[in-house]
Symmetry: C2
Subunit: 356 residues, 2 copies
């Protein structure tokens, strides 16, 4: 039976990317060798890394002056690298707390200096994006999280600041058109819209680096990685390759403009059903709803067994909500076809019929 | 033509491991989903992680009291994590400098405290392992590198110390029998004998942790990772899976005891030819020769074109020496069959015949 994979991450990837990746594990570029047993300094892999970096610049429409890196350690290590690279000795930074991942970023940054949480939606289990907060003018940077996987919220209007703007875009990068040149540092774990777990994308404006007065450990210093063309040490070869293929796939579809339209259509279909169907209610505040992670609950918990049977029978997987929110979470990342969303909507409508 | 892959790393992996890995990228465990698109918290992947950790304990014959982790960042990040976790505030550590990687470990550790290089073979381009050094008694730990990929040297007798013993075993772990319980911390980037680039094995004695008085950033704290069963954040799913398969393969061959015999036979064959054949000379001091990386030069540089033609024609790849040493380096890791070593020896003998 065909599976419909709504997993929050690691998550669905394009079928053609999976096919090419599997082939490369056996024989890469017709070399007679596997992708994962050749030197990362070989021309064949250096080409992969360069292509991945250049596709990021192209897809995000970045002006000159940005470096693109593929590092290890996930967003969690970026929580530490951000203040190491941007927070001046004795300096201060402002964070917007929109979920447990944002809160983890705060916790790590506090080890290095004065961190002010200028807004938080913790009071309502993070079901909305805070607005109308005041950004202090004396901060080294402002940190936000563009999409909150667990709660299904997404920032539509980014903070306006004269300080540096930093954004964790792990769960919605490459899913919608933004003016990426407004950001000074963007990072994203690959395992949502970009590729498999094990590599982390970093996009950083070169001119902001080297100004903190800190001695930065080599592996945590963006400048080490930039100087070495993202090969300061052995990169995660397979995750970088699969990311490169996924970026090629996005470009082939027509870039972020095209994929955003598809994402809008999928989200509209599912949110419309949640709002229409009396058996369901959305979790996130309407105006802050994520186009990537759709969180919803049953209006009546007694329907649980019946609904779980329906979506299981339809081949749907990965829609259990996070334990802190409960209910359901349908993650509809770039690679999710609208047909799979229709299958889920069908299951929701069948539940309604069963009880009518 | 069949390829004989002597690459220093990322390097040759067992064919059956490559085959199973490629299959899992298409359909993992018959789930109808790819390994790289399921949640790392799913039972199927948690089983992989647990199996990988338990195979390490079994193969290294570790007593109780050790934790096994699969982290990101390579040995390079371990250079920083080691002092963060083991070097007391105001403490001191001793390092043995056997190559540029050992020197990088020294450089990172110096950011956190007083580091004494107690022995170095830098004076002879690291072509030997220093001996007869004195280990200070007042150090928090002693750090060594078991095998030096670039130079083809390998420690046969490890430092004897009452302090903690730390070893970077990136390029020879699982290749020879050692009393691993003599070590307090072992780390190894996967991309030699264990799997593809992108995951790092850490084996640490639990009782040594939490004693430095330092505040350690969460991602650099072994205790964060131990508490979370090596899933403090999303692990590098595919590299961990391939590592698990490779560990299963080693176990299937009869464990490290069995693989050591094969490695001995391969190394003997190649070193015997280097010593016998007047066209070649070894680089590393005989008593310190590595069983993993065999470094050698032509006695007459004028033979280069002829020899390069011979090994290229034989389907050999990856034997160019590191730029700091020159000549050739044949890496004969666990997965390298003796038949491939024979092909290289044949090419060396053909060179001799051409000039006789």
């Amino acid at each position: 039976m065909k599976k419909h994979n709504f997993s929050a991450g690691p998550c669905i990837l394009p079928q053609e990317v999976l096919k090419k990746s599997a082939e490369a594990v056996i024989d890469f570029n017709g070399l007679g060798l596997s992708l994962i047993e050749i030197s990362h300094r070989s021309k064949d892999f250096v080409d992969v890394m360069e292509k991945a970096r250049s596709l990021v610049k192209e897809l995000l429409n970045l002006p000159d002056g940005y470096s693109v890196l593929f590092l290890q350690g996930g967003a969690s290590l970026e929580f530490l690298m951000t203040p190491y690279n941007l927070l001046k000795e004795g300096g201060k930074a402002a964070y917007i707390d929109t979920g447990v991942w944002a809160a983890k970023a705060v916790k790590e940054a506090k080890l290095l200096g004065d961190i002010e949480v200028i807004a938080s939606s913790k009071d309502k289990v993070y079901n909305y994006i805070p607005k109308n907060y005041t950004i202090p003018t004396n901060v080294d940077y402002v940190h936000c999280t563009s999409n909150n996987t667990i709660y299904g919220t997404q920032i539509k209007e980014f903070p306006k600041t004269d300080s540096l703007l930093v954004c964790d875009m792990s769960s919605d990068i490459f899913s919608r058109v933004l003016d990426f040149s407004k950001f000074d540092l963007i990072y994203a774990g690959a395992q949502k819209n970009m590729g498999p777990a094990g590599t982390t994308l970093v996009v950083v404006k070169d001119e902001i680096l080297g100004k903190t007065g800190r001695t930065i450990p080599a592996m945590l210093d963006y400048q080490s990685h930039i100087k070495a063309d993202s090969m300061f040490n052995t990169p995660a070869v397979f995750p970088v390759y699969v990311s490169m293929l996924t970026l090629e796939w996005i470009k082939g579809l027509g870039g972020i403009q095209a994929i955003e339209k598809l994402n809008d259509a999928k989200a509209e279909l599912l949110y419309n059903e949640i709002d229409r169907n009396p058996h369901f209610k959305g979790f996130a505040k309407n105006e802050d709803r994520s186009l990537m992670n759709v969180t919803f609950n049953l209006t009546n918990e007694a329907d649980k067994e019946a609904f779980d049977k329906l979506w299981n029978a339809a081949g749907i997987s990965g829609i259990k909500g996070h334990r802190s929110v409960g209910g359901y979470r349908a993650s509809i990342y770039n690679a999710m076809p609208i047909e799979s969303v229709k299958i889920l909507v069908d299951a929701m409508q069948q539940l309604e019929k069963q009880f009518s």
